[in-house]
């Protein structure tokens, strides 16, 4: 009797095991912010219902720098626990060897995406990751406050500084002691590289390292850009901005305590949520331009992609998941629910998106003029380039040396890092 039940139990266990082997258990990492994780879960539930696979989300810190360090470690150790990675647009050249080539699996859909994004994820002919959404920041401004003080949306950074100062001082005098003029991402991490690259580019100061690999950062326009940013600290921006990442600046903004904010599109949807103090009170515009020769509005190209680990034990199912998350269907949901920018060109003309997220069609132009970070020319040394750059900027902003001094040292360090070639 006992033996029989034991055998029955073993058989049942074995059958379960076979079923589980057919329907894979997948794990995906995500460092999404806001309610991004809940959205991802809702999409994964659809995938689970369609395919019978089970997908677990492994949440990660939202700082892309922190994520990268962890992923690199896992991948170097050949970790098979994570099947699918959400990768930043800049990582492809550094992690190309560790991911599966998706070119064959995605050959039917790849033409739907913006060619420049697909290009950024292609390393030596290998499609390292599929684009899930793209990102380009904008200037968030308080419609109500600009109207109250009869101001227009600033077109240049000095204009922004003047407007922000005036409104901030007047609002503080009127009893709103916590109001700040402008918040952005000033912590010493990848986000500061994005913010500062926009300042430098908008002043016509190049993009740190040009596409041909030459180091261009030490120039008078770049110095002017950083000096301008330095002048904000303690006047229109709180000193604490030097430790802000995206979520900290959104926190100040969404409590109604900032006139202007530089942030990615995800903050649009959240800012219009029911718990937001600025619901319906704000709008977005392209980031201001600098002054002087070559000045223009510049937005750093961001965006996230889906890659499959080559150490995954269920590569076929994992590739299916990657294709699903990059599909037109999910990208449309993402645009509607998360205000993330699609990478599929045709979605910018989609009627539902135009009706529910009117900012997205408007973003097409911002995005088409976006500046890439120098991850392609700097290759595996990009992270160190970025770290040297953000350190120089962070030092400048916190008053540790002038912009001219810090950029001169930066140029020397980059030259040494470059050696004979990147």
């Amino acid at each position: 009797m006992k033996l029989k039940s034991l055998i029955a139990g073993l058989l049942a266990g074995a059958t379960l095991g076979i079923i589980a082997a057919q329907a894979a258990d997948l794990a995906i990492v995500s460092g999404d912010t806001g309610n991004g994780l809940a959205f991802l879960r809702s999409q994964l539930d659809r995938f689970e219902a369609d395919t019978g696979n089970k997908v677990t989300i492994v949440p990660m810190p939202s700082s892309t720098t922190d994520q990268f360090g962890q992923y690199k470690l896992w991948l170097a150790a050949g970790n098979a626990d994570i099947d699918v990675y959400q990768t930043d647009v800049i990582w492809a050249p550094q992690l190309a060897d560790q991911f599966v080539d998706l070119a064959a699996a995605a050959k039917d859909v790849v033409a739907d995406h913006f060619p420049s994004i697909v290009e950024s994820q292609t390393v030596n002919g290998k499609l390292v990751a599929l684009p899930a959404f793209t990102d380009a920041p904008a200037l968030y401004y308080r419609k109500d406050l600009l109207e109250k003080y009869g101001k227009s949306v600033p077109k240049t950074w000095p204009e922004l500084a003047a407007t922000a100062k005036e409104i901030q001082d007047a609002e503080r005098a009127a009893g709103k002691a916590d109001i700040q003029g402008f918040v952005f991402q000033g912590n010493a991490y990848e986000g500061l590289t994005c913010d500062a690259l926009e300042w430098v580019k908008s002043y016509g100061g190049g993009q740190i390292i040009e596409a041909d690999g030459s180091i261009s950062i030490n120039n008078p326009q770049a110095v002017a850009a950083l000096e301008q940013a330095k002048s904000w600290i303690g006047t229109i921006s709180p000193e604490g901005v030097l430790s802000y990442q995206e979520e900290e600046s959104r926190g100040v903004w969404q409590l109604g305590n900032a006139v202007f904010m530089r942030n990615w599109p995800y903050a649009y949807q959240l800012g219009n949520g029911d718990d937001s103090a600025v619901k319906g009170l704000f709008d977005v515009a392209p980031l201001p331009a600098g002054e002087g020769e070559g000045a223009r509005s510049a937005a750093t190209l961001g965006g996230w992609n889906i890659a499959v680990s080559k150490y995954s034990k269920n590569q076929d199912e994992a590739v299916k998941l990657a294709l699903f998350l990059a599909s037109k269907d999910v990208q449309k949901e993402r645009a509607l629910k998360q205000s993330n920018l699609p990478t599929i060109v045709s979605l910018y003309d989609d009627a539902d998106i135009a009706a529910n997220q009117p900012i997205i069609p408007r973003w097409k132009d911002v995005f088409l003029n976006a500046v890439p970070r120098p991850s392609a020319p700097a290759k595996v040394k990009y992270n160190e380039v970025s770290s040297l750059f953000w350190s120089a900027v962070h030092d400048t902003l916190s008053g540790n040396g002038t912009a001219a001094e810090n950029l001169e040292v930066l140029e020397a360090k980059l030259t040494e890092l470059k050696g004979d070639a990147w």
Partner: protein, 327 residues
């Protein structure tokens, strides 16, 4: 008599022999008991340490852990002479960011351990006195030490936050400051913020170790001092302090070792700036964030050497004994 001597002599020799044999077998048994621990230490501490030291002499990268080539001391010190005749030095020993991190670490370790020792001593003296509810207070004071560092660092990061933080709010309402201070963000106050949190967190540990020392002090010494009418402050410096010195020295060295390799608190609490980067933070950055695994290994090796030398110096100068005796 002779027979007695003869009879007693072999028995004496025999008992000695038995004793040494007993000793031998005891030592052998002890070795067997120690073996698992030694093996575990060799696997989890010895082998990684040797491997890190080995990596520091190669050009290993994280992508290719087994393909590194031996490059000698290049990661530590090297030079190239340019065509113009100018010599460029490279390597860890001439890297200003490394020495900045060393300075940050040493400064942090010395200041934090000094503050924690004084605070811990005061807390221990209080807890050593007899009062109602002493057991509960002793348990309660350990709470900061029991909270994981990441959690307490995040908690303090919110309390010290410039916009939403309650510490700024309290100070502002009390009129002690006129504008909100960005404690963790500003380069001037970041190290202070780290020190505040670290002292808050590790004072209980210090207090506990010192309290254990205080309980060993015999009561009659105090009675004698009281009968002689010695002033309490003099009693503390002439009686209590010398008697708890061994426990104090051991507690300080534990904390010093801990403080020299501080990582998590600084990593979570402050922006990644040169004002607070310590040796552990900078070597992790090179090991994993940058494509400089070998260079990071060299930093880890030097970190190990610096701590080893400091510990040796401390034990030698302080004449520390770990068996609880004094000198």
């Amino acid at each position: 008599m002779a027979s007695e001597a003869v009879a007693s002599a072999p028995s004496g020799v025999g008992s000695k022999k038995i004793e040494s044999e007993l000793m031998k077998s005891r030592v052998a048994a002890a070795m067997w008991f120690l073996l698992p621990m030694l093996a575990a230490l060799a696997i989890v501490a010895g082998w990684p340490l040797l491997r890190t030291i080995y990596f520091s002499f190669t050009d290993t990268s994280l992508q290719n852990l087994y393909g590194g080539k031996f490059v000698g001391f290049k990661n530590y010190f090297g030079w190239t002479t340019l065509k113009s005749g100018r010599t460029l030095f490279s390597g860890l020993l001439v890297d200003p960011s490394w020495w900045n991190a060393v300075w940050n670490t040493v400064r942090f370790a010395v200041v934090s351990v000094a503050l924690e020792t004084v605070a811990g001593l005061i807390v221990a003296l209080v807890l050593n006195a007899e009062f109602r509810g002493r057991g509960i207070v002793r348990a309660a004071i350990l709470i900061p030490w029991a909270i994981p560092t990441i959690v307490s660092a995040k908690m303090w990061a919110w309390m010290l936050n410039d916009q939403f933080g309650m510490i700024n709010d309290i100070l502002l309402n009390l009129g002690l400051i006129s504008t909100k201070i960005a404690w963790a963000a500003s380069a001037d106050t970041a190290m202070t913020a780290v020190l505040i949190v670290d002292v808050w967190k590790t004072t209980p540990f210090m207090a506990l170790l010192i309290l254990a020392g205080l309980q060993m002090v015999p009561r009659d010494v105090y009675e004698a001092a009281r009968i002689d009418g010695v002033h309490p402050i003099k009693v503390f410096f002439k009686v209590t302090l010398p008697l708890i010195r061994p426990a104090l020295m051991v507690a300080v060295i534990f904390r010093l070792l801990d403080a020299m390799r501080i990582f998590d608190l600084i990593y979570v609490l402050t922006p990644n700036s040169s004002a607070t980067k310590t040796m552990s933070v900078i070597s992790r950055e090179n090991l994993f964030d940058f494509d400089k695994f070998a260079y990071g290994s060299a930093q880890s090796t030097l970190l190990f050497l610096i701590i080893a030398v400091m510990t040796a110096l401390y034990i030698w100068i302080g004449k520390v004994r770990f068996d609880g005796g004094d000198r």
